[in-house]
Symmetry: C2
């Protein structure tokens, strides 16, 4: 598998972020060609009560690096990227790489 992880910084208005992510951004990103999986993790305080370092972790996977690279070049992916300033002005990091499934 090949994976894109998006780490979203804490937004000024979490409720507005969450609504836009669910209603607008996730449906846009889900149109990226060839997606094998796409999950959204809503980060919460850990067992010690500490604030998590990010607000949301999105994980998108493709079967191969080639299919991921093709998706990154697609108009659908670019449309999702163009939506980021509409809700993620606090910033986000995109991380790429191969993924092994252990379980």
């Amino acid at each position: 598998m090949h994976q894109l992880t998006v780490l979203y910084n804490h937004p000024e208005d979490p409720a507005a972020f969450d609504k836009h992510y669910r209603d607008v951004h996730a449906p846009l990103a889900a149109k990226a060609p060839g997606l094998a999986g796409y999950t959204v993790n809503w980060c919460q305080p850990g067992p010690d009560g500490s604030k998590p370092p990010y607000h949301v972790i999105a994980t998108l996977t493709w079967d191969t690096e080639e299919s991921m690279k093709a998706a990154l070049r697609s108009p659908e992916f670019k449309a999702a990227g163009a939506d980021l300033p509409n809700f993620a002005s606090a910033g986000a990091q995109l991380i790429f790489g191969p993924t092994d499934r252990v379980v």
Copy 2:
């Protein structure tokens, strides 16, 4: 689903980290009770060539928060945690939260 994400900082010796992770740590962590999934993402430079912010992203999932919490209390999970100083002295962040599957 409920998810634990582990973000590993860049180690001093990436080859030693990777070998220990594959040969020792992943088999230990895979013994955590009730795991529904466990993937290991080997972060690489992005399309712009920039160094990724982390070395490895591990993603462990359980079907429910209760099963995750039970796993965190288990001797198997604690054994995996006790292994961290053996390879992850550069540090790691553990992030918890519920996960929605979009695709």
